[in-house]
């Protein structure tokens, strides 16, 4: 890998731009995604920016259980994102269709239609979890740019509200919440 490629990988990891797409979601995840970009959580310190056009974006964030009406749009938008790209499925809906399972107007889950790199579980996931998922997607993006090999989808751990040491967090991988309680 020459210097130029190394520089490109570094910049991709440090400045991923997001495109947010609502595939029939209930707004819960969409609002939490916006909340993660605002001063309390401030995902912009990762270099993340919410973009209005998929052609400017590196990471596609999809919420919702993928309705019939959204399938074609999701495929089109996925095609419009320039490679290398990563897809983050936000919430339990795109992963499993959640409580809407068995609905006849759904065509989910999302990985039937496009390859998904990071699943962020939760209904809806907390902004901390979304930031963690986007950071993971940025790493995948840099790896993908360097090696061009397929990468397995990652399921992020569930992030609960900050426990402030009140409970014994048993999962060793459980990320420490970065939120500060007022």
């Amino acid at each position: 890998m020459n210097l130029w490629n190394r520089l490109m990988c570094y910049s991709r990891r440090r400045s991923p731009w997001l495109f947010h797409m609502n595939g029939g979601s209930c707004n819960g995840c969409d609002i939490e995604l916006i909340a993660s970009l605002t001063p309390r959580y401030d995902a912009e310190q990762l270099g993340v920016r919410l973009e209005g056009s998929p052609r400017h974006a590196d990471i596609l964030c999809i919420t919702g259980p993928v309705t019939h009406n959204a399938v074609n749009a999701i495929k089109t938008v996925y095609g419009q994102v320039c490679g290398p790209k990563a897809v983050v499925a936000i919430g339990s809906c795109p992963a499993t269709t959640n409580v809407f399972i068995d609905s006849r107007t759904l065509d989910g889950p999302l990985n039937r239609h496009i390859p998904v790199d990071v699943f962020v579980p939760g209904c809806p996931p907390r902004p901390d979890a979304i930031i963690l998922g986007v950071a993971k997607a940025a790493e995948i993006l840099a790896e993908r740019a360097a090696k061009k090999i397929p990468i397995d989808p990652v399921v992020m751990p569930l992030v609960g509200p900050p426990c402030n040491g009140a409970c014994a967090c048993s999962t060793p991988n459980a990320p420490k919440s970065t939120e500060e309680q007022p």
């Binding site: 001063p39 309390r40 259980p65 749009a73 609905s103 107007t105």
Partner: protein, 360 residues
């Protein structure tokens, strides 16, 4: 010559997928068509295959912004069918959660409206303030979005220390008075951007049958909390803010004043909260056959549920939902006619549309 500009369904100015076809002559909009249905998940049909516990969790996911209102309305309708009355403390807790939800919804709307005005600083300020409301909701329910507070015959979680919550609410109110309210009521930027655009006259508002803040901004003093009190609203004292202008600025002012009224209701509910049980605690629930309806004033207007049950069934035979956006959205057409093209994103956002509620 007129030409058509499609806006959406996936557009950066829209929070949710829906399509607005604007028929323009030059820069002036002469007509508009609205296409919805991108969020259609078939929830009403799914509800018929869920039992009375599962249907509450399902209906909570109709909308991620007003999730509590949907379960509240559904539980009130199911309580009519089961003949249960929630204890007074549960009624007060319902009022507290509903008003906190109204606060966060209005502040969220203010943030999005500020973003569409091009007032990005205000957007960030509003969302920072909204996090404080979310802190209170998280302290009460443990969750940020789907609170799962309501059950048949009461609520699931108690407010252990109402006075601690009251202290948080008072701090929030001070911040609102200090930052958000003055900027929206007196700032020149907001006034110049919003005054006189998207006018919905009083007569048009009556003929469209609009509800909620959209109706109150067009001079219709309707509020179900006052007209048909539910939960503990009959014991609260509050004003219903009404503006006569019917433009975007009037809707902004109505919501800003409602934030203050919500703080007032919260203060009363938290100080007067009676002791006692939080639910009837019946493990066995028997539904009588029939149909029950329930109406509630959501942040966007009136929500109505009509729940039907068959004899000795565990599942509802029909759950019908009428959401406020369903009646408010035809009014967008009358608001944008004659408006400038650049104003349409702000005008369509001024009714606080929620298409995931409407499509279901």
């Amino acid at each position: 010559m007129s030409y058509k500009i499609p806006m959406g369904p996936y557009h950066p100015a829209l929070e949710e997928p829906y399509k607005l076809d604007l028929i323009c002559e030059g820069e002036t909009v002469s007509d508009a068509k609205l296409h919805i249905g991108f969020n259609f998940r078939g929830i009403e049909h799914l509800a018929e295959s869920r039992n009375y516990i599962q249907v509450i969790a399902l209906m909570e996911r109709v909308c991620g912004i007003c999730s509590n209102i949907h379960t509240l309305t559904l539980c009130q309708a199911m309580e009519q069918l089961t003949g249960q009355t929630p204890p007074p403390r549960a009624q007060y807790i319902r009022v507290v959660v509903a008003e906190l939800e109204r606060l966060h919804s209005h502040v969220l709307w203010a943030g999005i409206a500020a973003k569409l005005m091009g007032f990005k600083t205000m957007f960030m300020t509003c969302f920072e303030l909204r996090e404080k409301v979310m802190d209170i909701l998280q302290a009460i329910s443990g969750n940020r979005v789907n609170y799962s507070m309501n059950r048949i015959g009461g609520v699931n979680r108690d407010i252990d220390d109402p006075l601690a919550v009251l202290a948080m609410v008072e701090q929030l109110e001070r911040e609102m008075v200090r930052t958000v309210i003055p900027i929206f009521t007196t700032s020149t930027t907001a006034r110049l951007r919003c005054a006189g655009i998207g006018v919905l006259s009083n007569r048009k508002a009556v003929s469209c049958g609009v509800v909620g803040p959209t109706a109150r901004a067009s001079g219709l003093p309707q509020d179900l909390r006052r007209a048909a009190p539910y939960a503990a609203y009959s014991e609260m004292e509050f004003d219903v803010p009404v503006q006569q202008d019917g433009d975007v600025r009037a809707r902004l002012l109505v919501r800003a004043l409602e934030i203050m009224e919500s703080c007032k209701i919260l203060r009363q509910a938290l100080t007067k909260m009676p002791p006692g049980e939080i639910s009837t605690g019946d493990a066995k629930i028997a539904f009588s056959a029939g149909t029950a309806t329930s109406r509630v004033e959501a942040p966007r207007g009136e929500v109505m549920y009509s729940v039907s049950w068959k004899e000795s069934s565990r599942n509802p035979s029909r759950v019908h939902v009428r959401t406020p956006t369903f009646v408010n959205m035809p009014a967008i057409r009358w608001m944008v006619i004659g408006a400038r093209l650049a104003d349409t994103p702000l005008i369509q956002a001024s009714i606080d549309p929620c298409y995931s509620c409407t499509d279901r």
